[in-house]
Symmetry: C4
């Protein structure tokens, strides 16, 4: 299968999985960098993730301009995706979501999400919080232009995750499966971390453990989850293409 067709299928599947696994509800989105042109990315038209079909997938320039819209309305917040592809050549997929357990960590000072179990190590040593109010004052909280997107991308740097105060989170990955995997376990880690914090002082993973687990998190483990998530989401499980 041509790489582009493969990625469109993966992208539809990624959307459905994020919905089925409770990372997104009717809002949130996932994109993938274009396989032939790194200055472009693929992202659905403005639609709830669990409703998305192949024909909904649009192509965008990094600045958010749709290449061939054919009347399809884009997400207002597509600039999150373009700004991250622009800033980090290594990033191949981006997820933006409002996953429930992460929201509280974005609105309480001095409480940061950190890995409390090995499945959470891929989120990084500590999840930073981006507050749109710092540089943009009172807004509708949406990342609706490249200036805001670049501000978020600057805070993230090469990190995989960031929270957005009063809004949600953004996650990057080496490919679609990686970004979905981190998104799912960011939610689980946040949920378990809050429960652990309720009981007392938490022993987080050591920095060395985080690095060792993250360096081991590859296709072997992610594929095991992906097959299961495909089945749960009612989507075909296609062989991974490098």
């Amino acid at each position: 299968m041509p790489k582009l067709d493969y990625l469109v299928e993966e992208l539809v599947t990624g959307n459905r999985i994020l919905a089925r696994e409770g990372v997104v509800d009717s809002f949130g989105h996932i994109s993938v960098r274009h396989p032939d042109n790194p200055q472009r990315y693929l992202l659905s038209r403005s639609r709830a993730p669990d409703c998305i079909e192949k024909d909904d997938i649009m192509e965008f320039m990094l600045d958010g301009t749709p290449v061939d819209p054919r009347g399809r309305a884009p997400y207002l917040e597509r600039f999150i995706h373009g700004a991250l592809y622009e800033a980090q050549p290594e990033v191949m997929s981006v997820v933006h979501h409002h996953s429930e357990s992460v929201i509280p960590f974005g609105v309480v000072a001095n409480q940061r999400i950190k890995p409390i179990f090995h499945m959470g190590a891929s989120i990084g040593h500590e999840v930073p919080v981006w507050d749109s109010h710092d540089h943009f004052g009172d807004t509708a909280l949406l990342v609706e232009n490249m200036e805001m997107g670049r501000d978020l991308a600057k805070l993230m740097g090469a990190g995989r995750t960031a929270l957005m105060r009063g809004h949600g989170a953004t996650v990057t990955g080496r490919n679609i499966r990686h970004a979905v995997y981190i998104s799912v376990y960011l939610e689980v880690n946040a949920r378990l971390q809050q429960r652990a914090m309720d009981m007392g002082e938490v022993k987080f993973l050591t920095p060395g453990e985080v690095d060792k687990v993250a360096s081991r998190t590859g296709s072997y483990g992610i594929t095991r989850a992906w097959e299961n998530w495909c089945r749960r989401a009612g989507r075909p499980f296609q062989p991974e293409q490098a």
Copy 2:
């Protein structure tokens, strides 16, 4: 499709969505103002929201008198709806429910639901609590006459939401989708707010942010959710009529 037929379909769908999304269980109800006569409203007979069919939809005068009951028993609390349509000409739809996360905020002093993320901005700056005991003493807590309904409507004023102590909540909207949308995110916001409060001092949305988000919450975003909710509830997604 004639506006009345359209609204009856929407009302059945709204009931099913509220059930599927966990806002109502076997109790709670949603109404819409009559499209041709603002002195009347449409509301199901006394039945659980997830069981409601088109033939269950009855027509009421604002004082709660059924127009053509044909043996159908009405909800005891229909006065909530009539009193709000009477007091607020702009209100086109009303939801009354016992959504789980909002109940605790109605029974604890000095804790008010306030928007902690952009999806919650439509609930208003702060959700007031109406206590039937203040003016009516010991009752069965039900709003079972116009006097109680008007007391609640007075507290709500032009606001979109109110809690009812030891009972539930009431929400108003510009149309059915808007009232359902606010009801769903009132529940989510309350759930996340309690979790955030457990962790420390909460940074709520600023007043300016609440206003900016609320003014942007229109058909563009709500339709995206509505399509998804229709699919989840097994209901047809019909085009919106203004």
Copy 3:
């Protein structure tokens, strides 16, 4: 339909509803007093509630002796049922369960479940806790003879609900639907009460409100829930027989 056949159908449905609504898992049971002989009751053989069929329903004497076992093994804890029918002639149905939100209230001193919203009023003014250890010392915590059953029944008196420390809860009703209804809302009330207690001082329903709501909780409201629960459990909704 003969009353006995009607009750057997209702009993199967009651079991399935309790499972579907999360009151029981693989354990727990519901019985009904025999319609023709108040010295007997009907209860399933030892089987998970969601698996129960009509042929599983057995007849017992109040002391727990099966009338016509035909090889069917009874629940070890059937004495809960017999002791309550023996002590309270008005009781027509009994539920015993391990509903999750009530367990914590049974193992923490000085925290009692009390109605915090109108749907919880049927549980009574305060739910007492029976501790088998008080009179029986170290046991397997099961009510496995009439002596223990009578001790529990004595604590309950004419009340509708009791917790059992380290074990679960028992509920009585005027009929099957009533006992199921109270069981469902005992769980919901406990869940919401704990969340409210986490936030501050709780304003419970006043004693007068509890009495007014409870006196109003009749077939009108319960039937509305029952129809919905039948649908969710995939069971026929049969007309109520007095």
Copy 4:
């Protein structure tokens, strides 16, 4: 049916039940000792539990060497299983999982899971916590060789359960159903225990109660749950073989 065929069926069913009941997600595994050769055990190839079919079941020597791999990739953490079968001749089945409610108890000092209700008694008097860091320093937290497996097995001794700090839990049983049963109620007990601890001082089961319940937990009760879990998981319920 030959014992080996019976056990392979049970093992597939055990995997599906653990997934359906929320003990495992895409990770975690269950094994059974070989019926004819106590120096071997049966365990799936590396696959998510809810996807596992009969052909996925592999045979291993206690040191983790696959007997007839036929290209099937094994779980990295199979050494947990071999080390426990090696150390405890009585153990016939082992479950390793990352059940959500137990994780927090593994990362907070001085909070141990203990039975708070009779269904939890099979977990033992107190669930110990194994910290891989104590003897192995910074690792990827996985039990990926026999040395680590034996260290865990040593901590567990004849106990049925242990938590693994920042990782998950391991459970042993007299047979597959027993190990699954304990795994399910370890999760429930942890969940309820945390909620009880939130409310005040907890009255746990007495040591005598734990012993009495555990000694009574046999095929009678477990089979009742197993039939129900088979139905929920869409698996045939086969008669138990001793």
